[in-house]
Assembly symmetry: C2
Homo-oligomer: 462 residues x 2
């Protein structure tokens, strides 16, 4: 029995999968400031047109250009692994598989879309890409990708993570990018927020506003913005994870998993693994699909399904998604990549449809799970990934109690080698749980009151 299920290069998926083609209820369009659906032109100052075309596409399969594959081959196909040591420790009859996305140079799944986005920007004649980053996984992935395509890269990093993870900045600089803490003094919105809240830990929503501001103020038209999650084209690029995983499960004789798990901040690593299985579920397979989020930022589990902006300064179109309100600043939990007020519209529409079973966990439980992982499987996971592990352990114990031989697969979205301060806090008993009080939630979602409402109709099949 092999613990690593490996694909050869020739077996890498040559096409991405687009869930938008199969959703039982079609995705609701992004709206402009006037409440009317936006047109592709309106996104043109922010994204190159070839990416906008992917964003609005409902084609089921989209070819992966060869220059993108040529870069992905540096670490893809990624291994699927069997967590036999965790299984033994839990004495579970469940078979636990995990897709190991930590093997990329920046250490997470993020380069799957960073490379694609850098490629399309380059093709479109763009010279510089701006972006935001939470924990630094995305920023370093884009820095890596831009370096390989000879593009400039500027990263606004959420201040709390900038301070907690100093090595991420060096990593980005090693790949030739520039990285500043957000809110920064480099943008109007940054200066405004710093004046109002000089001690703010920052938030992804703020960093997005800063990056977009830098993009649209470049009058040469050679700068574009790049988002590492949330949007449809990002989910598309990440589908390579699940497509590989399906081939690998087949290699060990698994026709379909019983449970698919991924942590969810903006939704991209979760969707990357899950969407190809969501297609199977839509086609009749019985699969439980679990996005996992922190109780400190419980977007799908407690947020409203509403039209909201993706950023704090309301520069983005309105997206139909679960949200805690665009001005929400989550507590400074260590899983910086999960500190986002919104969620990918494709994920949210699938939640509305009842295709998913979202869960949330406390920070302490997640670190406990990460420590069990380090002591059994031996690897040190990212704090984001620990949320998926917490859910996996819970499901494996349930399988033991039910005496069922379930197949669980989760996405090991990244390693935690750059995020050790959280482990330090845990080991020394300095880590706290956070849970959003009901009052604070009401207040933070009150910004949605005047905005249009999306349809919550569903096909009723799940």
């Amino acid at each position: 029995m092999d613990r690593k299920i490996l694909l050869n290069e020739k077996d890498i998926p040559k096409r991405w999968y687009n869930l938008a083609a199969d959703l039982p209820t079609p995705l609701q369009p992004p709206l402009g400031p006037d409440g009317k659906p936006i047109t592709p032109d309106m996104l043109a100052p922010v994204f190159p047109m070839n990416i906008i075309e992917q964003e609005v596409s409902t084609e089921r399969w989209i070819d992966i250009p060869e220059p993108i594959l040529d870069i992905l081959y540096r670490w893809r196909p990624a291994p699927l692994r069997r967590a036999v040591y965790l299984e033994r420790f839990l004495k579970t009859p469940a078979k636990i598989y995990y897709k190991d996305e930590s093997t990329s140079p920046p250490g997470s799944h993020k380069p799957n879309t960073a490379v694609a986005q850098a490629y399309y920007n380059k093709e479109f004649g763009i010279k510089k890409i701006t972006t935001e980053t939470g924990a630094g996984q995305w920023g370093s992935a884009l820095a890596f990708a831009c370096q390989l395509f000879d593009l400039k890269c500027k990263v606004y990093m959420v201040r709390i993570s900038f301070d907690q993870k100093p090595f991420r900045k060096i990593m980005m600089e090693t790949w030739g990018a520039k990285c500043v803490a957000s809110p920064s003094n480099e943008t109007e919105i940054g200066r405004k927020i710093l004046k109002e809240m000089p001690d703010t830990p920052g938030a992804l929503g703020i960093a997005i506003s800063e990056a977009i501001e830098e993009t649209v103020r470049d009058t040469t038209g050679k700068t574009r913005y790049s988002l590492g999650s949330v949007l449809n084209h990002v989910m598309l690029h990440q589908s390579i994870i699940g497509l590989e995983a399906k081939k690998q499960l087949e290699m060990v004789g698994v026709k379909k998993p019983d449970i698919v798990i991924g942590c969810a901040g903006g939704g991209s690593n979760f969707a990357g693994l899950a969407f190809p299985f969501v297609q199977d579920k839509i086609n009749g397979e019985n699969i439980e699909i679990i996005p996992v989020e922190p109780k400190a930022c419980p977007t799908i589990t407690r947020g409203e399904f509403a039209y909201d902006h993706g950023d704090t300064a309301c520069m983005t179109p309105l997206l139909a998604m679960h949200t805690l309100g665009h001005a929400f600043v989550p507590e400074p939990i260590h899983a910086g990549g999960l500190r986002y007020h919104g969620m990918a519209p494709l994920v949210c529409q699938a939640v509305v449809e009842g295709l998913m079973n979202p869960k949330s966990y406390h920070q302490l439980k997640c670190y406990e799970s990460a420590m069990i992982w380090a002591k059994t499987e031996g690897f040190i996971c990212a704090p984001e990934t620990s949320h998926a592990i917490a859910a996996t352990i819970e499901e494996a114990i349930k399988a033991r109690e039910e005496g069922k031989e379930k197949v669980i697969i989760f996405n090991y979205s990244g390693h935690g080698l750059m995020d050790l301060t959280g482990y330090d806090a845990y080991i020394n008993g300095k880590l706290h749980d956070y849970e959003l009080p009901e009052e604070a939630l009401k207040k933070s979602t009150s910004v949605l009151d005047g905005l249009p409402k999306p349809s919550t109709e569903k096909s009723g099949k799940w």
Copy 2:
């Protein structure tokens, strides 16, 4: 053409290779304080007897116990990769392969022997292992291994690295070990050195003395010391690297490489890859074998071949090796794992035989090479590994100039994700070259004057 050459679990080597069986001139025995060869008993307070037996063995092949393999399967067999992107960048006709030892949980080749040593200690009834660490690669590898075998672990980490690489300590603690900066106040030798040189950056030799002191003062007999390099049993355990690599080269039709390269501090990652090829060279193959060291700590390239202690406080037996003198404190270069005054006797005897072509490089050239690596292959290497890359680039350029299609293989001993301060210094122009002045070398090797001299006889075949 696959860039990753992958072995299945069933193809993992089941036996280690011992170069001591094939050396044309036999290894010279370690000597005690009286200048006479030491007996296994004399090592018993420091190492468990089953490891001592391996240390003195001249068996060519030694079986790898199944419980060790069960742990190694977490990341082994390790990938062999083809550095096609570097080849393209250098426009070289050379084929560059590298054995990727960065995929282990602690991120280097070190757990290959840490796991074996923890196993043998556990088998022997030991409860606690002490050790030293330079850059932290070894300390975290032993922490990882001890955790899996439920042994206590105490690590003395060279102060300069302790300060430069704060995350290494957290990593060790995550795996349940205790880590202190060396020299420390926890041992007599540590207190003595701190009194004499309160600002010393520390050195591996000092940290070894401290770890041994803690071992021998435990009167219960349940503590032993573990060394991560230099000794014969360590080279033995690391031979799995080269044995895998030979199988992988065969898979792509390479009968033998032309050049084998590894960075060399104490010699273990270099020997791990090189020794199985040294066997081929002894058997008549034409292979150039290059250990690479820093110019700041040029043990093989400028040190004396002499009998010397492995540690600063002269607690270890005398070993026949190249040395800069046991009191030598190298400049604080970032490649902490290469800051050692001595070298594995097996490597040194092979150097004396003329089987190897040692080289040394400046720190700046190594970081330049690391940056080229990050910009082509995409991965961020350990500062130690950058020495092997510097030599590889030089050989690949030579192949281009000679128009020869050589096969080069080097050991990618570890990733640099925990060592980013060196990259920061390089990027910001704050990195300096060091080269040991002739006078300082003379002074540091003067401690060898009163000690016995090893034979420098060789078979004359190379």
